[in-house]
Symmetry: C2
Subunit: 469 residues, 2 copies
């Protein structure tokens, strides 16, 4: 049974928590762009200070070779499970900045929403997790479980040094399971438990057809054009119906289970509105619903393509170079690295003789992650949501990627429950990202209940087991 | 017979002329980029001053609604032909600036070449033309012909207001023919007379597939991607062999004449070196040689294409927008506007349902230009080149476009001889553009001889006639 005073404390501290979140959001901690190094540094200082002030022990930065993680722990509940509390302090780049209605790093509350880069992904939910622990410690001097707070700084760049970091600090990070502030809710109205996420892998290639840009008056009609060739390569990646045309792309993907397809169908999902909200055009594998395509099936997108003159005015050149940034989302069964290598082989096989296709970046990313449907993390979450909403939670999967989940599974052998309170429409990775103030309040209560509930499970019950498919 | 003192004066003034050219090159007169407005202004002041100091009359700016042209005249030879002397003071943008070995607007002489934006295109040859007139006037107080110097400021942006300008100043610009400093030589070793140039037309389109960039974790696999669709459109413009795949693209193009193909074959042209010099890859209509493809046949190029995240780092978006800049080079018989409309119809017909294809710019450009092979301009140029080289000149055509040529033909009814001294390998429109100092000297002598030779033709003999095909 939870201590009602903790819930009251969280409720009464909402204004103070919002101010703290705003200060966090003002720090431009963009991990993908080296010019934001100061912002990354400031965010770490800011979090170290908060963890110390709330009474965590062993507060420190953990180095893994890249952006350090922020760490702090409370281990005063012997015999209770030890849970790693995961969040990340880095955010996506804010460009195109000119499309923001309010400055991306000046958080602005309008109509119950707070706008700014990182509000939804994921400083809002990270703040919820931290403040729940703070309330437990402030009100009753203890938590229902042992906690190890672990706040990463490389989530938005694919966690390049997380593996090294986890290996180096294996003893410190030892835990029975992870609760992640990342990986949000699927619906504002229906209770859901997230049982997994797609993985991701990336590739950037550059194609060269000549030693320099050529004047079309002198060469037009006689030479290959790098933009034409790159366009041909990019166009070859998909069939006309939108399914991926790369040989072997789908081969290792596990077919969705009956339960997965049933839960997907049970999830109240307005497919027409899904497209209409963003004026998007339905496309993709004809055998699956849109909801299945974005959660249970892999996908492939060119995230950016460019070559030649892209500035103002006319420049009659034949571009000698064109580039493409590509990412794949992968599902259970697929090796992220194998999938992206298949894409690279596809491009290489279609690159005309003499054209030079260079690999700028190949990131093997991370595989899809999965938590078995009968795991204590899932059962505890179901219990909390049942109590709060009076409804049975539907199992859903996330189409996005939380690389830490599969990485912590791989390095520390523990499962992760994604329990972020962000919602799908909050424009993450895009201009005008926002988070709902109601989610701050609801999330705080649910996190407090979840930690209490998990205190009832013996540590041994968290031992990892494989998903039976 | 030319006055030898004029030739001696041009020879002895070479160092002074080079210094003047350097000052001209230091002025960043980029017409395509509004941020260079001051450079455009400075270039006009600089030229007005030179025309006045050399003794031209009626020196002034001519307005046509865009960048003004610089004008000055000497009309002291009644009964002799009146020749418009054409050049342009605007230059291409210098980007990518980081690929220049020396600053683009700080002219630098290395090994008999002067490097800088505008050296070859076309401040070098414009300087030759002006200084030949200056020497005639300084040495003998007269020119062999009447001259009307006309220096345009919009050549690199497709001369958008030249038509209005020529119409407004029709009386002032009245002349028997034009000699243009633009449209260079085809070879450093073989004498050639240029009898025409390809035309050009442009199109910029933007494709939209959604109201904003979408997160591939939420939408990947379910929606159209603007970059994929634009790649498909761009790839559809050409066949696998490089020929243009647009319906009707070649229909109106006049087949090359026997003389044109014979002259093209006679021109000493190392096709392997043409490609090897720029590491270019041969491509295009299989029925024509590379030299024929770039001078006698039309072509179509995407000059720039972009969409999505093109900066550093990873951004897992599905781009909602992609753009392409396209130009066509057209030949005799083709309407430049009709050709670009055919390209637009091709794209519109292939744009998938629901995708929005917007026309950002459609520039009907200018048609190909042609001067009949028996025109006095051609005969005078042949005579000068025969005297200077001892060899018969080969007729060649320019693959690039000098819009003024067809425009002056259309508006003023007069033919243009292109007599620029730049050479094909001088990296025009690209980084490290240069001009040969030897061309300054040879060009000055040839221009002086040409004006003398043209003084022998009665004005009536220049009357325009159609090319017999």
């Amino acid at each position: 049974m939870i201590n009602q005073d903790v819930l009251d404390d969280l409720e009464s501290r909402q204004p103070e928590i919002l101010e703290w979140l705003k200060s966090f959001l003002r720090i431009p901690s963009v991990s993908a762009d080296p010019s934001f190094e100061q912002g990354m540094h400031d965010a770490r200082r800011f979090l170290l200070d908060r963890l110390e002030r709330m009474g965590l022990a062993n507060v420190q930065l953990l180095e893994g070779g890249g952006e350090p993680a922020v760490y702090g722990e409370w281990t005063g509940a012997p015999g209770k499970p030890t849970l790693m509390i995961y969040g990340h302090y880095d955010v996506q780049p804010a460009d195109p900045v000119e499309l923001w209605a309010t400055p991306p790093f000046e958080p602005t509350v309008v109509d119950g929403r707070i706008y700014g880069r990182g509000t939804s992904d994921v400083k809002g939910s990270t703040t919820i997790a931290l403040e729940v622990i703070a309330s437990f410690l402030a009100v009753q001097g203890s938590c229902p479980v042992n906690v190890k707070v672990f706040l990463e700084g490389e989530e938005e760049t694919g966690s390049p040094s997380l593996r090294a970091l986890a290996a180096r600090h294996r003893e410190l990070l030892k835990a029975d399971a992870v609760i992640s502030a990342d990986g949000g809710r699927a619906s504002p109205s229906v209770p859901t438990v997230n049982t997994g996420a797609r993985g991701v892998a990336q590739l950037e290639v550059r194609l060269r057809t000549a030693s320099k840009d050529l004047h079309s008056g002198r060469y037009g009609g006689a030479v290959r054009n790098a933009v034409h060739e790159m366009a041909r390569l990019a166009a070859s990646l998909h069939r006309a119906d939108g399914a991926v045309a790369v040989d072997g792309f789908y081969d290792q993907a596990l077919a969705p289970t009956i339960r997965q397809r049933t839960d997907t169908a049970a999830f109240p999902y307005d497919e027409a509105a899904f497209f209409a909200d963003v004026q998007g055009l339905a496309h993709g594998e004809p055998a699956y619903s849109a909801r299945e395509r974005v959660t249970l099936r892999p996908s492939l997108d060119v995230n950016g393509l460019w070559g030649g003159h892209t500035g103002s005015g006319l420049k009659t050149i034949i571009p000698c170079e064109a580039s493409a940034k590509i990412t794949a989302r992968v599902v259970e069964g697929q090796g992220a690295g194998e999938v992206i290598q298949a894409v690279l082989r596809h491009l290489q096989a279609r690159c005309p003789p003499g054209c030079r296709l260079e690999v700028v970046t190949v990131g093997e990313g991370s595989p899809a992650s999965t938590i078995p449907p009968d795991h204590p993390l899932v059962r505890a979450a179901e219990a909390v949501l049942q109590r709060e909403t009076g409804r049975e939670a539907i199992h859903v999967r996330l189409g996005a990627t939380v690389p830490v989940t599969s990485l912590l599974k791989e390095t520390l052998g523990i499962a992760t429950l994604m329990f972020g309170y962000n919602l799908p429409d909050e424009d993450v990775h895009a201009p005008n990202e926002f988070f709902r103030l109601k989610s701050m309040r609801d999330g705080a209560k649910a996190w407090a209940l979840l930690l209490s509930e998990l205190g009832n499970y013996p540590p041994a019950s968290f031992a990892s087991r494989e998903l039976k498919h």
